[in-house]
């Protein structure tokens, strides 16, 4: 009887909620605050099926029981989650008539990064002329991809067009209860990308150019899901070397990758969010959960990241090595300057037999910044013949910054082989002097040395992006020596 009453009560309250939020449906931006209503509002705005709403609500209810993690080596003022707004309709950037109207400082940076004129226009919000307009570029890409059966669209679109695929994989790699920020993302995620590569298909292009043109402004709670079916290959590039500003200080993204039998996913990130001023004021807080699942045998997931932006980076792209013979790779360059704080690394969880993983992490700290590598290599009892190689190097510029390494190794199978190498170094004065003597000014010399130091990682990036990333490192470290 009491149960019956509870149920009734629940229905009534829910109906009240329904009433409450339906009124606001016309609003373009939601008032600050986070309640179940907020979650329902977002879901309704996106016209989501009920299973997804339920999924979001479950995540939200769980999130309410969780506390923000503080084990990272970072300091920042408390975040007031009720003071944030969780929905705003995608805004059109004001369109400018030509590049002449764009902030010259921004154009200078674009030039130095070597970004093409066409792309500069897109990034700066200049109306693109008819010769190669963005629409036709997109159409060409879309046709090419469709020919191969590749699905590449926004996650919102995928929910509508490919609900079965989304339902089958969403939250399977990063469960809604995984961690505080992942739960929050699951409840209120704004949008992101969805990729499906069919069996035996090698994606005919880097999903990068397309991404850079197409998928800007996905919001502060981005969510990406990539599924590579048997024997397929995809290289996906996220982010942009161009400096990105955002009015939302908190970013909590989730990326899930699923690699089926013999599939290969290469995921590259260049992150250059606004790092804040010299004292770190106003910079982006970047709390990201990225994980791949090598579900199929002999599958491979490779993460490459170049992290130069954000005032706070909390990010551990990881791989679950479930399929026998599967491989996980993590190549990372994390640069912190001024007052930036980065706590980043990876987790390689070996579950299948003969699985292997490689970790190459290069941390560079300058100014008063703090740069930590935090990693876990776990070899489960089932992972017979598993191998790992880890190399974690830290480079210090100046004497006021910090570099820290927190590697954890758990081996529960005696056949496992784990190698770990770590170094901490300073740029040697004699290296700088040598380059100086050949006519290279100190700042450029440091950039050259740093680029050399990161070469193993930068070499993993798609060609044209590697060039930009090199220049980005140079720009990021400007003024941090001497």
């Amino acid at each position: 009887m009491a149960e019956e009453q509870d149920k009734l009560l629940h229905e009534i309250t829910n109906r009240e909620y329904e009433h409450g939020w339906s009124v606001d449906l016309e609003a373009e931006t939601l008032e600050p605050g986070l309640t179940e209503d907020t979650v329902r509002f977002i879901s309704a705005k996106k016209n989501e099926p009920s299973w997804l709403l339920e999924w979001r609500l479950k995540a939200f209810r769980h999130w309410q029981q969780m506390t923000e993690p503080h084990w990272g080596l970072m300091h920042y003022p408390p975040i007031d989650y009720q003071a944030l707004s969780y929905y705003s309709a995608p805004k059109k950037k004001p369109e400018l008539a030509s590049l002449d109207e764009v902030d010259p400082e921004l154009l200078k940076t674009f030039d130095r990064l070597g970004i093409s004129l066409q792309e500069q226009k897109m990034l700066a919000g200049v109306a693109v002329d008819a010769v190669i307009d963005s629409v036709s570029v997109k159409t060409t890409f879309k046709e090419k991809l469709a020919e191969k059966g590749v699905i590449f669209c926004s996650l919102s679109e995928a929910v509508q067009e490919h609900p079965d695929l989304v339902k089958a994989y969403l939250g399977t790699v990063v469960p809604i209860k995984d961690n505080f920020f992942a739960a929050l993302n699951s409840a209120v995620f704004s949008d992101g990308s969805f990729v499906y590569i069919p069996k035996g298909v090698r994606c005919p292009m880097e999903l990068s150019t397309y991404f850079r043109i197409n998928a800007m402004n996905t919001g502060q709670f981005e969510r990406t899901l990539i599924v590579a079916d048997d024997d397929s290959y995809v290289s996906y590039l996220e982010g942009c070397t161009a400096p990105m500003r955002d009015e939302n200080q908190l970013h909590a993204a989730v990326v899930e990758l699923v690699a089926l039998n013999r599939a290969h996913i290469k995921y590259s990130t260049v992150q250059n969010w606004y790092p804040g001023d010299k004292n770190g004021k106003g910079g982006i807080y970047n709390f990201v959960t990225k994980r791949g699942n090598c579900l199929g045998e002999n599958s491979l997931i490779s993460w490459t990241q170049v992290e130069t932006g954000s005032s706070i980076t909390w990010k551990y792209p990881s791989v679950l090595l479930k399929g026998d013979g599967s491989k996980g790779e993590f190549f990372s360059v994390a640069v912190t300057a001024n007052a930036q704080q980065a706590d980043t690394g990876t987790k390689m969880v070996h579950l299948g037999r003969n699985t292997s993983s490689t970790i190459i992490s290069k941390g560079i700290s300058a100014g008063q910044s703090n740069n930590s590598y935090r990693g876990l290599v776990k070899i489960a009892p089932s992972a017979t013949g598993a191998r790992n190689f880890s190399q974690c190097d830290s480079l210090l510029l100046g004497s006021h910054c910090g570099a820290h390494t927190f590697p954890s190794i758990e081996v529960d199978n005696a056949t496992g082989k784990v190698e770990h190498e770590a170094t901490t170094s300073k740029i040697a004065e004699d290296q700088i002097f040598y380059l100086n003597q050949r006519g290279i000014p100190t700042e450029k010399a440091v950039a050259l040395i740093v680029n050399g130091y990161c070469r193993e990682v930068l070499d993993q990036l798609p060609m044209e992006f590697a060039v930009e990333a090199r220049k980005l490192l140079e720009i990021s470290l400007e003024g941090s020596v001497g």
Partner: protein, 252 residues
């Protein structure tokens, strides 16, 4: 006007005086050798000319083509035409020789107000100069000095000198650790570059290098000063009799 004019140079490291009133004049078209016992300040002099800030100049002046060298940063000295072939060339992991050389070349050109060198012309020059010092072309794709043998490192210094065509080249014990073949190759590189518009300051411990690179003037540096200056014959004397006789003569 002389190319290099060093007057009454005093320098110290960590408060310890090394150079104590050194004078030296070098004209264009000339090759001068500096010899001297260990710890006499030979390498200090080379480092100071190049602008290594580990040394403190306490007194004196260095003029290069009539302008004070001490007012210039090390990279500006390079652009002005000063080159140092290092005694211990430094390794720079991950930076290819080609990238390094291209950067150096173009940074110097930029300081001189010139456009970057055309890639084709650059490659041509690389091939020419590699041949000059018999440097394996494969080394160009390796990281700077990394995994180079001792001889390769020294030849690589001469290769860089040939690429950059400096006005003044200081060779800091470029012959140390070289076998006779490598020595011949290094000398051959230097001799090919000698002309009436440039000058060389060859710092060496042994007379044998001077069989290959014939100097116009030989100086003996001891206890932070040039204590004797002469011709090539002085070097032979030193080889035969050691440094003690000069030091004795000076004391007397």
């Amino acid at each position: 006007m002389s190319m290099l004019e060093i007057k009454n140079l005093h320098a110290s490291v960590d408060g310890k005086p090394i150079l104590k009133g050194l004078n030296l004049t070098l004209n264009k078209g000339e090759v001068h050798a500096i010899m001297g016992p260990n710890g006499s300040g030979k390498s200090t002099l080379a480092s100071i000319i190049a602008g290594n800030d580990a040394y403190e100049i306490t007194e004196g002046s260095i003029e290069f083509e009539g302008k004070s060298l001490l007012d210039l940063e090390p990279h500006e000295r390079a652009a002005a035409g000063v080159f140092l072939a290092f005694q211990y060339p430094v390794e720079i992991p991950g930076v290819s020789m080609m990238n390094f050389m291209k950067t150096a070349m173009n940074e110097i050109r930029a300081q001189q107000g010139l456009e970057p060198m055309e890639p084709a012309a650059f490659l041509k020059r690389v091939r020419e100069k590699q041949a000059l010092v018999e440097l394996d072309a494969k080394l160009a794709n390796r990281s700077v000095n990394q995994g180079f043998s001792g001889g390769e490192k020294k030849r690589n210094e001469v290769f860089q000198m040939a690429m950059l065509e400096p006005k003044l080249a200081v060779l800091d014990e470029t012959d140390s650790g070289l076998d006779i073949d490598a020595l011949r190759i290094v000398a051959q590189g230097v001799n090919a570059l000698r002309n009436t518009n440039n000058a060389f300051l060859v710092i060496t411990h042994y007379q044998r290098l001077l069989d290959y690179i014939v100097p116009d003037v030989v100086h003996v540096l001891a206890n932070g000063k040039i204590i004797k200056t002469g011709t090539k014959d002085l070097a032979f004397k030193l080889e035969a009799k050691g440094y003690d006789w000069i030091l004795e003569t000076e004391k007397a």
